[in-house]
Each structure stands twice: as C-alpha cells, then as structure tokens.
Assembly symmetry: C2
Homo-oligomer: 437 residues x 2
C-alpha cells in the first residue's frame, strides 16, 4: 500500500455514528481491546494461513481524514466528531500473530488496544484486508502443498477486482507461489513477474489466402522467440497441440524454455507432449500447464511430467472460500472482559494471547489461548504466537514478505500429516482456551 | 474510479511481452477486434447482470504509463516498446451492451476495436473490472428479486478486499440494493450510506459492580438515540432479544425507527419481535434482519414481518460465484474472422453485435448474435443491445449509474417467469448465433 492511498473512507458508516454517540456520552475514551479471530475455518479446511497483517499495519498510518474525507462525512456527523476525526491518528497498541503463521478456529490473530474511538474506526479496514488476503493465502498454501515442490504461478488477476488482484498476488506469493502475472504486484512487492503470450498473439498472425494455421503459428512463435529469446514459453494449444509442439521446436530449436498447454485433459496431453519433446531432442524444454487448475487438479497431475502449474481463478477466489470469516470483536473495556450472549456467536472475553505446543520432532499438537498476564504453565516445545506489532501507533518492525513466506513453509512442515490432506476434515490441531487462573 | 488512479500496471506481464513481439514483427499495427463474453453463466444461474462497463470506460483514460510505470517495466522490455508505452493512449472504438443489461452465454457484452497494440494491453483491466462487478451484480439481482420489494442493504465491505468493497457496493446498488454501509462508495458514487451501530457499542457500556446487561444496553441505546435521534435503528440481540426490544422502546419510545436482529432464527425472532413491538405500541418501528443472508434466506423470510434485509458476505462474494468467467478473445484481424480450435473453448470469429427479441407483452424470448454489418431480418419486438460506447478513444456518454439501475429492473421485469426462479436451471432465454449471410 502506497503511503498516499486514502483509506479513511474504506469504512462502514456505523463506525463513525458509533464514534459520534460515544464521544457524546464520554465512553469514547474508554480503554478497549478488540480481537480479530475466525470462529471456524472454511468448510472442511484443516488450517488457515494468516495474511494481510503487513498490509494492515502499513495502512494504519494512512488512516487519516483529510479535507476531502471530512467533507464526505460532514452531512451526518456533529462538529465534535468531525473535530475528533480531523486530528485522528491511531495511537494505540497492536499485538498478534506474525503474518504467515497458520491459524485455527479461535486463534486470536490480532488484537487492537486503545480508546474505543481509535479502535472502532479501524474495524472495516482491518477485516477487509485480513479476510481477503487470508482467504487467498489459505487456498494458495493448499495448492503449493499439492504441487509437492513444483513451482506454481499466480495468473488470476483477470478473475478478480483489479486492486484485489494485486493483494491476491502478494498473498499467493506469501503462501509459496513462485511468481505472478501481475505487474503492479511485482513492482510494489518485489514478486517475480512471469508471462509470455496468449492465444490472441498466435491468432494475430492469421493471414488470408492459402496460408495455414501452421504458418500462422510459426510466424507467431518466431516473433516471440525473436523478442524474448529461446528461453521463452510458447503456448502450443491454439490450433492443435501436436502441431503446436512441432512448430515450437521447429522455430525455437531444442533449447526452447517451455511449452504451455491451457486446455484439454492436461495429464494426457502432458505425457504426449513430453514424449514428443523428448523425441525432438528437446529434453530440457519444460511443460507448463494451466486452465481451471485448483488444488485437487494440481494433486491429480502429480504423476504427470508437468514442470510448472499456472493457477488463476481458484487462487484469487480462495478456492471456494473467498473470505476468511474473520470478525473484529470487543473483548475488554477498562479492564473488564466483555462478551456477547447471542447464541452461536459467543466470543470469549478478555485480551488474549496464544502459544502453540509441539512434539520434540517439531510437529505441532495444540494451540493454547490464554488471558494476557495469565500464561499457562507449559514444558518445552511451547512457542509464543502473539507478539507486539505496534506500540502507541508506531510500527515496531517493517512487514517482511519474505519472512512471512518462510513462516508459511515452516508452518506447513510442522503440521501433523493429516493436516495437509486436501480432503475435508477437522482442524489439524485443537485450539484450547485456558481459563484464567 | 478517480482520474488520478494509476491503472497501467494492473496488467498481466504477457500483454506487454506480446506487445513487444508484435512491435518487432509489425503485427502490432494490425486492426483487431477483441470481444468480451462469458461462455456460460455460473452453475445453475438463469441470467447474469452486466456491471463494470462504466468503471472500465472511465478507467481507459487513466491507462497511461507515467514515469513510475515505465521504470517498473523497463527491465524486461526493449526501447521501442517503452517508447510506444510512453506515448500510449487508447485511441480505438468500444461497443457493447449498456451497463445493467442482462446477459446470457455468448452475449458479446463488449467489443474493443483498434490496433493489436492498443487492444491487447487493456485485457486484464477490462476483465478484472467486468468479472468482479458482474459477479456481484448478478448475485445482488437475485437477492433483490427474492426480497420482492422490501429494501436490501449492502454491508459486506469487511468480507472482501478493501477496494473491491467499494466496487461491490456500486454493483449491488446497480442491481437494485437500497444503499451501502461503505462510506467511500457513497462518496464516490452517490449511493445512500446506511448504518447505525454494532454489538461493540452496547458492550462498550459495560460497567463493573452490580449493574446488569439491561443497564448497559439502556445506556448504549440512550447514547445512540441522543446522537442519531429516535429514527435510528437499535441492535437488540447483544444479550437477549426480548429484553433488547423492551429496552429499545423504553429508551427511544414507540416512535423508534427500527430494531435490528443479527443472529438466531430470523423468521421466528421477527414474528416474536413484531408482536412485542406492537404490544408496546411501536407499530411503525421496523425490523431489520441481517446475519449470513443470501438470496435463499431472503426468499425464506418472505412471509415474515421483515422490513429490511442487510446482506454482507454473500453479495460481495457473488453468492457462490465470485467471478463471472468473462473472457477477452481476439475475434477479428484486419477484417478476417479468427478463432481458436482447442476443444471446449471455441469462440466464434468476427466482430459481432446482438439484439433481443420480445413478445408484444415485453417478455423476452431469444437473443440473436450476428456479425456486424449482417443484421438478421426481424419483425417488431427486436431491441438492439450493442451500442457505440467509445470512438477514437473518446467516451461517447458519461456512465450513468442510475440509468444502469433502472435497466436492471426493466431487464428482470422482462424475463420469462421461470427465469426469476432461484433454483438451478438453464439460461432464461437462448442465445443464438446467426450465421453471416
């Protein structure tokens, strides 16, 4: 997120009307803690990957009301509220899990502490960022896991909102994807940008008269190799895959980087294409497959000679779970734990932290959630998950995307083996709330 | 979209590498038409609502490469390509369906005509905007239809990317929603902003000692009514709905605007609350329900005394179909129709337009898609869907959100009755490709 992005209006109206009412009756200055957590994982998922924390922390500094924003809310707020917003800058504390940590139902992934006034206004922004980025990272991690070491590329920008696409590329990279097609994401976050050509480029070389699809395809391949070199990836399924591969090698030679197949039965085609490439002496030419891949399709291609997966729709839309279901709940007011009593939405009051227990092998066994100041007694193998992220409005450490990416990989490596299964199941480890002593 | 938003990097890398190769071999200047269409509707849907056209048309003017954008792509493009981008401004023609039109499989909702160079670079931006906005509007229209005249409010910002939230509010409003919780959407697009308070505001009024939840709730309600007036909506399910309603009327009096119920069996609660409000003399106090509503839940509450629906997650995520599946395909090159021959992805070549046939009653019966310049012979009741939107890079008319909203309502009114069913089914009308004569 660039520093100049105005974010204060990316907010639900009720946050400001609540602020107005709280300023009027004096409760706005009460010291509160809000907690971000998911009551459950998406249906059948065994773990989630926390993402967006870095984007959120950096956006807090941009959450200020300039003249334009103040004018936009002036019609429904009273002068004291407008005065408050004019001088607003979050000055509270934020604690939470590091970005890239796995999470489970009830994990207190983020807690925001400050006056009610300064905490309540951040609700929508915090949830928008965390719900989106976490949904994408959680799906992406399953794909990376299913790919079992083969690189996976994110190329779904066109399937999601143009700005969400940039954040989706970041979240997928964080979860272990190798790169993205999205130029803004590459520019903003330093993610490797990857891309070669589309069917349109081959069809562009259509000419009238007696020429054939082979002529057109060879002309297109020739132009691409001239521009990008023999290490490029040629898209071979515009007309006929077998002809496409023959044309690719005829034009680029046996040192062609890769061919891409974007349609058809990818497993069958990958095997045929591998054999054809080998016959043509192009033993080092890779095979990239794409076309409606998700984690299940990726897993289904494990035995096939595929070198790289390109994933679009399913990763940017969270593979069936486009939002992570995180909520932002008031858990403490002036030191008093508070909770709602409506059925099915019970949240446990009080400001909380968490630690995760592991066997000596490193495999995690349980997550313990406890009231801050009342840590449970644990033996060795306990790792604190909650860390200070912001103090008095100041970011303690700059978000580090590479570190988050490494954290996801370490988290997946530490899951019990059943936790990595793609099939529907229970959370990989239980989350247990430790009663305050 | 504000004029200053840089959009040129919201693009897949391959568009620029294709551009580079096409500039090198001279094909970049070929006159092309790209067509945006959906091969199918989301599973079981009977119609789609085209949205995003206005946002896309306005963004085309912002699609320029400033110094920052050029620097971001300088490492992988050659000087002629960078020179081309430095002077880039789309100068072609755009035709298509007006925003808010219904569409069906194969409807040529947008066509972009110009040199290959200027058309290819718009692919990702066009698809991102149309796929996102159309997915939301298509889901939203089903909810509006299910609500059968009762107002529906969009309050899903927190469940989707912070910028997608703004566009989602616009798409939902276009489809007939009454308003949004999102302040930026209200500011940018003039959509009514709606919002009152959350559970946190009630819990904020927790105090220690002998006080009760009734005390806290009455304090919160009192503060809200003092700030927002008796016409406000009080959230009554923080502790106990029956007590909440009693507290609400005790504090605000029988002229309270509305109460909101956000959890539990909404149908049962709505009936109980209606009876309780009537008993308390609050016959004009409305009932707002929210909490994981989608089109099916809305329809299921039709017989209950509900006045307003608040919808979050399901509308901003397209209610199971978070992307519309639109594609951007090259259909014509220098006057030659072109098409891909891969299985399952056949697109019909040539620049096309469409019209829709209707009975004298206004009920539509069929959509005819034809090559531009070869319109089919039709009797009365044929309505042209394709209209000129941009000529030589100049927008012909400013996008009009209100007009688009009226178009959706008219479109739904003209569907055959089975087309409005929420159940899974075939497209409401067939789309037929008329062979060129």
């Amino acid at each position: 997120m660039t520093a100049a992005t105005p974010v204060a209006l990316l907010t639900d109206k009720y946050e400001l009307t609540m602020l107005s009412a709280a300023l009027r009756d004096g409760t706005a200055s009460r010291l509160t803690t809000f907690e971000v957590f998911a009551r459950r994982l998406p249906d059948g998922r065994r773990y989630g990957v926390l993402a967006g924390t870095g984007r959120f922390l950096e956006s807090v500094a941009d959450f200020v009301f300039g003249e334009g924003a103040l004018a936009a809310v002036a019609d429904f707020l009273d002068p004291p509220t407008l005065d408050y917003l004019a001088g607003f800058r979050f000055g509270g504390d934020i604690d939470g899990y590091a970005e890239g940590e796995l999470y489970f139902p009830g994990s207190p992934v983020l807690s925001i502490t400050g006056t009610f006034a300064e905490c309540v206004v951040l609700e929508t922004l915090a949830l928008s960022i965390l719900n989106h980025d976490t949904a994408v990272a959680s799906a992406a991690a399953r794909m990376v896991s299913a790919a079992a070491g083969r690189p996976v590329i994110e190329m779904g920008s066109r399937r999601t909102h143009e700005q969400a696409a940039v954040s989706a590329a970041r979240a997928a990279y964080l979860a272990g994807f190798e790169g993205t097609s999205n130029l803004e994401a590459s520019h903003r976050y330093g993610i490797p940008a990857i891309g070669t050509s589309a069917h349109a480029f081959t069809m562009l070389h259509t000419t009238a008269g007696d020429s054939t699809t082979d002529d057109w395809e060879r002309a297109a391949f020739g132009a691409q190799v001239a521009a990008l070199g023999e290490g490029t990836t040629l898209l071979v399924d515009t007309y006929d895959v077998r002809s496409g591969v023959a044309n690719a090698i005829a034009v680029a030679g046996p040192r062609l980087g890769a061919v891409r197949i974007d349609s058809g039965d990818l497993g069958v085609l990958a095997r045929q294409v591998r054999a054809q490439l080998d016959d043509l002496g192009a033993r080092d030419t890779g095979i990239v497959v794409s076309g409606d891949l998700d984690e299940y399709a990726i897993a289904g291609l494990r035995a096939e000679p595929v070198d790289t997966y390109g994933v679009g729709t399913s990763v940017v839309t969270g593979s069936g779970a486009p939002t992570a279901g995180m909520v932002y709940k008031l858990v403490e007011v002036d030191g008093l734990p508070v909770r709602k009593r409506s059925s099915h939405k019970q949240s446990h009051g009080g400001r909380k932290a968490a630690l995760r227990l592991a066997r000596p092998s490193g495999t995690v066994t349980e997550e313990l959630v406890y009231r801050v100041g009342a840590p449970p007694e644990t033996g060795t193998g306990a790792r604190e998950l909650t860390r200070p992220l912001m103090r008095s409005g100041e970011l303690l450490t700059r978000p580090d995307l590479q570190a988050a990416r490494e954290r996801v990989a370490a988290g997946l490596a530490g899951l019990p083996w059943e936790g990595l299964a793609l099939s529907r199941g229970e959370p990989a480890i239980p989350t247990r709330l430790v009663p305050a002593r």
